[in-house]
Amino acid sequence: MIAIAVIRLRDLFAVIILFGIYSLLTAALFMDLNAVDVAFTEAAVGAGVTTVMMLSSLYLTSRWEATPKHNSLLPLLVVCITGAVLVYASLDAPLHGDPSSPVHQHVAPRYIEKGPAEVGMPNMVTAVLASYRGFDTFGETFVIFTAGLGVLLLLGIQKPHKPQPELNTVANEVVLKVVVKMLIPLILLYALYVQFHGDFGAGGGFQAGVIFSTGFILYHLAFGEIEARRVIPTCWLPRLAALGVLIYGGVGVFALLEDKPFLDYSALADDPVQGQHLGVLLVEFGVGITVFSVILLIFHILAGRSRQS
């Protein structure tokens, strides 16, 4: 229903808020399916950071969507036919949660049975994400890095423009500044907690990077662009993003140099389980750094552009 409203509305501001609500509902749905890590990431990214970034890019364009010039009957027909074909194909899939489906027969039992012994951490999602499926997570980190790179190439970093004194909105915002000063250390501390607690509970590098960047985005929103760029200069952010990916790849290459397969963490220490712990720690750290710097970079770039009106 929210999706239909999003499609039909022309007011982009309302659309952005509806997207935030949609992300929140999806996070609740993931919680209902017992996928806590995914729900965490969805809530942080979808209902938090994406809304802020879309609002900051809305500032650069117009608020109202232009009425479409073409007749939308043919696309509607194509979409309906494709949707019908997909629904027909999904009827053949095994039922949700069916214990006799192939995915529960071969791979999942091995993770569940051998996971605590081989990797040695209580959170099986992090074990699968960082150790068993480390290649995929490496690819994801690279995708995030490429997204930041794309925005950087397309838009570029602008010099921060001087705030005009009469239009300076954040000059006497006492309440906001005081509260933000109180909240930012707690937000950053929570982000570090989520980062290093990923072994035991819900958490990990992605969520931690997002939450860490929201602390900086909050500072940017409350104190203005000049102050925010003084805290962390924008030219450092691409370097940090590259550093994160480098840490991840470096762990893999180190394993290669030890005559083991790429990203085999048992090469990192004498005891294989210790090696797994260390490997997951380093890898998640790299992911956290990359996610944090890319999100902050995109926000700096979007917020730094003045409206070309």
Binding site: L167, A171, N172, E173, V175, L176, M182
Partner: protein
């Protein structure tokens, strides 16, 4: 003892829920932006801690209870700030409360705008 706690927790949950609905009704039915922000802000700031206290009374005292308490404190701090920021931003953008003449251009000096805003919100 835990029976009484369950009942009190249920009462808190009920009151919090009723306040949420009241806030929703206020958001939809009130005429002006500032009244809507006021309705949403006040009822949300009260109902969320009430709901969370009701939740805490249903849990045994553990680390999770402290986490819910932290969420409660966080909401208590951030929700009024957000309401204040929204109203301040609307004032800066030139929106005036209902019943006052609208201003043609956005406010130039935030300090001046603040005073005018306070003047116009007096009955």
């Amino acid at each position: 003892m835990s029976e009484i706690l369950q009942w009190i927790g249920g009462l808190f949950l009920l009151v919090g829920g009723v306040l949420c609905i009241t806030g929703g009704v206020g958001l939809l039915r009130l005429p002006d932006f500032f009244t809507r922000v006021h309705a949403g802000g006040i009822t949300d700031t009260l109902s969320t801690p009430l709901l969370l206290v009701g939740l805490m009374l249903h849990m045994e005292l553990s680390l999770d209870t402290i986490k819910v308490l932290m969420i409660l404190v966080f909401v208590l701090i951030t929700n009024p700030t957000a309401t204040h920021s929204m109203a301040k931003a609307a004032l800066h953008g030139g929106l005036r409360p209902l019943g006052k003449t609208p201003v043609e251009q956005p406010v130039q000096n935030p300090l001046q705008g603040n005073e005018t805003g306070e003047n116009s919100s007096k009955p």
